[in-house]
Symmetry: C2
Subunit: 231 residues, 2 copies
């Protein structure tokens, strides 16, 4: 299982070994890593190199150090994407419209996939959110409800890869276009249209109509993008 | 510019400061970072903490250390996504179909966006690739031509965020379903259909027909996904 000693630093080799344990299935989500001294013995490297490697894995969010000691493979991974996406976005001088284009296409896909596999429980959760939206929540609550609505649909797509990227994209929106996002959701003349959109999306999902779900989600996204232009 | 000293380690604060330099525009792609001793003075931290931070930034692929000394902000960022996506994919016990669903939706979107903004030069490059595909390349060349074709279209979408994710997805395919991908491209009974698809995609892009481009790209992706099922 040892990789050949290339022109890499020792801690990089330690990282490779830990990744190998993941790929081979020895380590799974939430698992505790072997203690430092065991890694030192197993990998025949110095304690310093093991510590450097663990620190690096903590920084990229793959490993978390829990109080009381012990390093664990993290359960949640979306964060791993947010950092690089966000820095990439800044460094590439990207336009806000790029985030929205990406969000639109992923949301439309999740709506279509969700129409296939959404459960009654998930549909009930969506219905409750719509009821909440109707009960005149304050601006902050409204944003939370909106995010939750879309998140449930994303999860119902049963595609974890897309859910992760979409969650990261939502974070990007919070970093770069938060105010515009909130303004659009809370603008009075939009409220009725948005509610209507959410109801149509709910109905298409409840009917398990993939095409319709994709179509109404696309209308919804296009309305948001159009409003963003106005902003 | 200094963040409050929370319950974070010193090297994490150094990383935050460097990120701040990026977000504020002080550091751009390809820029050289201030030398270690300058960072030590500016941030009032130990040399060890600065080194730990730089090492972490190298590991996540944001910073590269060039021969002859000096740390630079990297020009290419796709790699930053590949690692976390790939580990995430493994740890979440994801299905191969998740990669393909993600690729389909992003490719269809890039085709639609590219129809709007593709240049004559890019169209010529696509035409050359199609000519290359017709000239009976060997299996390996064929895969390279196919990847290049799709990459040019992705770039022509003028959405760097989508290009980055699509590049990472293509890497995921290479890690997890490389053989299936190559087999589909090189299977004799597929060759004619694939060539036809590429020609149709080229034509729709040359006509700057967004809907048509999306449609023919979707047919192309669906054919690949169907073949993946057979594999």
């Amino acid at each position: 299982m040892f990789t050949p000693v290339k022109n890499t630093k020792v801690y990089e080799q330690v990282i490779e070994q830990i990744k190998y344990m993941i790929v081979s299935g020895e380590l799974k989500k939430g698992d505790r890593l072997p203690p430092e001294r065991e890694l030192v013995e197993r990998l025949q490297v110095s304690r310093t190199s093991v510590r450097e490697a663990l620190r690096a894995l903590q920084i990229i969010g793959l490993v978390e150090c829990k109080q009381g000691g012990g390093n664990f493979i993290r359960e949640q991974f979306e964060d791993n994407l947010i950092e690089p996406l966000s820095l990439m976005f800044t460094l590439q001088d990207s336009r806000n419209s790029e985030i929205l284009e990406l969000r639109r296409v992923l949301e439309v896909e999740t709506a279509s996939l969700a129409a296939r596999s959404i459960t009654d429980e998930e549909l009930n959760a969506l219905a409750e959110i719509i009821a909440g939206m109707k009960s005149h929540p304050d601006e902050q609550e409204n944003v939370v409800l909106d995010k939750r609505f879309h998140y449930i649909i994303a999860r119902a797509s049963r595609n974890n890869l897309i859910v992760s990227i979409l969650t990261a994209v939502s974070s990007l929106m919070d970093s770069f276009i938060k105010e515009a996002r909130e303004a659009i959701i809370n603008r009075d003349e939009n409220k009725e249209t948005l509610l209507e959109h959410h109801e149509k999306i709910y109905k298409a999902l409840a009917d398990h109509d993939e095409k319709k779900a994709a179509k109404v989600m696309e209308d919804h996204m296009n309305m948001i993008i159009k409003n963003m232009d106005l902003y």
